[in-house]
Symmetry: C2
Subunit: 336 residues, 2 copies
């Protein structure tokens, strides 16, 4: 196929907008939500290693909990629980956010305490309430397994394996967990039959009611911290105080990262405490507490219908096969 340079230029203008002086104007897409693109895999060997580590329960003290336990890629990258189950069946303090499209977040965790996915990945491994391991033990386990040693060496060209390599590989895999081609994205790209009249009406309500003030951009959220309970206070079942835990500023109390709404049909229950079991409840509460707006049942149903158009293609890959432990590998200690 031969493209003329003028065709390429026209396409670039259409997709990326026109740069005018210092300002970029979106030419074809004035919508507050933009389509997402399939992930580009820069280093397939790194991603493949990260996929193994994502499914690796030997990164936990028990040998039972992996990243995928709470960010289950069979279930929208979540555990679909109010709060997660950690080592020794400890009840987590907060709802596990989806890993899907999480590379688009301005920071990781509900309070944004990790600047990126690599910084996040080390957290649960060493959290006594989650995987309850240590970075040192995780590295010892992996180092004791020749197949992992060889794979890390091939990927990182270094003789020693360290936790930065582990978290870098996990983050590289997570960056591939993007869900393009939702029906709403198809609509955004011009396929006007991709969503129904009710779903479109729901989108109009979503836009006109102010939901887009926070839920915007390619991830339909994930790009700002906002107060939970603007118009009326939110009575959380969680003690989490949000962004204040990071900044120390009282003004940041109950400020949480706005969650992405992509795949929201799959990522129930909702809110940082997981107290909204259904989308209907979540839309109702958001309307009242954030916008001072009581949606009618019909409006609520239309917004929910729109939200379900945000389910994209789920990551598809073969379940990784993990290399066996050796006689030298430290054994899991689930009941200690």
């Amino acid at each position: 196929m031969i493209m003329s340079s003028s065709w390429v230029t026209a396409a670039a203008v259409m997709v990326f907008g026109v740069t005018m002086g210092t300002a970029t104007v979106q030419a074809a897409s004035p919508e507050p939500i933009q389509p997402i693109k399939a992930a580009k895999v820069g280093d397939p060997a790194l991603v493949e290693l990260g996929k193994k580590l994502y499914f690796e329960p030997r990164l936990s003290k028990s040998g039972f909990i992996s990243c995928n336990s709470c960010h289950n890629l069979s279930m929208g990258g979540t555990d679909n629980l109010k709060t997660s189950i950690g080592h020794n069946w400890q009840k987590g303090p907060i709802n596990a956010p989806t890993v899907l499209n999480s590379s688009m977040n301005l920071a990781q965790f509900w309070d944004g305490r990790a600047k990126d996915l690599q910084a996040q990945a080390g957290g649960p491994i060493a959290n006594p309430g989650e995987m309850a391991f240590t970075h040192q033990l995780a590295v010892e386990v992996l180092t004791s397994i020749p197949a992992y040693q060889a794979e890390f060496k091939k990927v990182f060209k270094k003789d020693t394996l360290d936790i930065e390599q582990v978290t870098k590989a996990i983050a590289a895999f997570e960056e591939t967990l993007v869900t393009p081609n939702s029906r709403f994205d198809k609509w955004l790209k011009g396929d006007k039959k991709a969503i129904t009249a009710d779903e479109l009406a729901g989108y109009q309500l979503f836009k006109n009611s102010g939901c887009v003030a926070c839920h915007n951009g390619p991830a339909v959220g994930g790009n700002s911290f906002q107060k939970m309970g603007v118009v009326a206070p939110y009575k959380a079942s969680s003690p989490a105080e949000g962004r204040m835990a990071v900044t120390g500023k009282d003004a940041d109390r109950f400020n949480f990262k706005v969650p992405t709404l992509r795949n929201v049909e799959l990522t129930y229950p909702y809110f940082h405490d997981g107290e909204a079991a259904t989308l209907t409840q979540a839309v109702d509460i958001m309307g009242r507490l954030q916008l001072g707006k009581q949606f009618t049942a019909d409006e609520n149903a239309k917004i929910v219908a729109f939200l379900k158009t945000l389910t994209g293609e789920q990551p598809k890959f073969a379940l990784p096969i993990l290399p066996p432990s050796t006689d030298a590998t430290p054994r899991p200690r689930p009941f200690e």
Copy 2:
């Protein structure tokens, strides 16, 4: 390709032996272990449904434990723990056997209390120490999800979904979890370079020491119940009494199903109580307790080397994507 009928006859004789009166004589393969073949999928839609159910944590009270939690297909179809972790972090009474090649077992569970995989599949779902659910609730959960309803209806051609359908589908998936083409199978089929001289020496020791008395056939075990501790008693850390729990006969005390040795490199730790952490330990204890034989370190190493040639091709499939719960789906109750 054209085959003469005489070629076909010769091949049949070579592979299947010659029937002489009532006795069948193996013509070309006098070995006590036979190669296994890749699974044949009779009903792909049934298997696909069973695969989803195998990974379905909503078959547990907590919404956190699936078949794959303890029979992890990333790790040889086991959890690589002495005994499994059940609901509320309960410590299981016995080591989780591998699901790989389990369709070849004469019965399921260590004590053989389930006659086949379908009978087995319902056990852990309703076991208060494992998934802690009920069959009725499992069916309610699945019935509340339109995508499951449609898939069951397509597969079973019935209007109502029941637990027999659930366990039948899981069993059908498990029947596909066969691991052909191990290096030892290649050797059995005539590729004399498929194993090393040490591995072959290990196999000769395995045969000549009497291990094959119990570990024989295509699954290298799985086809008989035998007493744990023949020559000397085994001091188990588990209270399990084996086959006696099923038959009520005192003679069956400490009789356990002989485990398959296929993929034994992946299915550590060993024995019904998981007390042997390494193959070296397992071979040593088996030699002493079952055969009255103390293997030298060199003999032990050779047998272990042989055992590692039994690792076959692991099942390769895409991680299933599970359909989301609806507003009507009963929610998990992990902390009740």
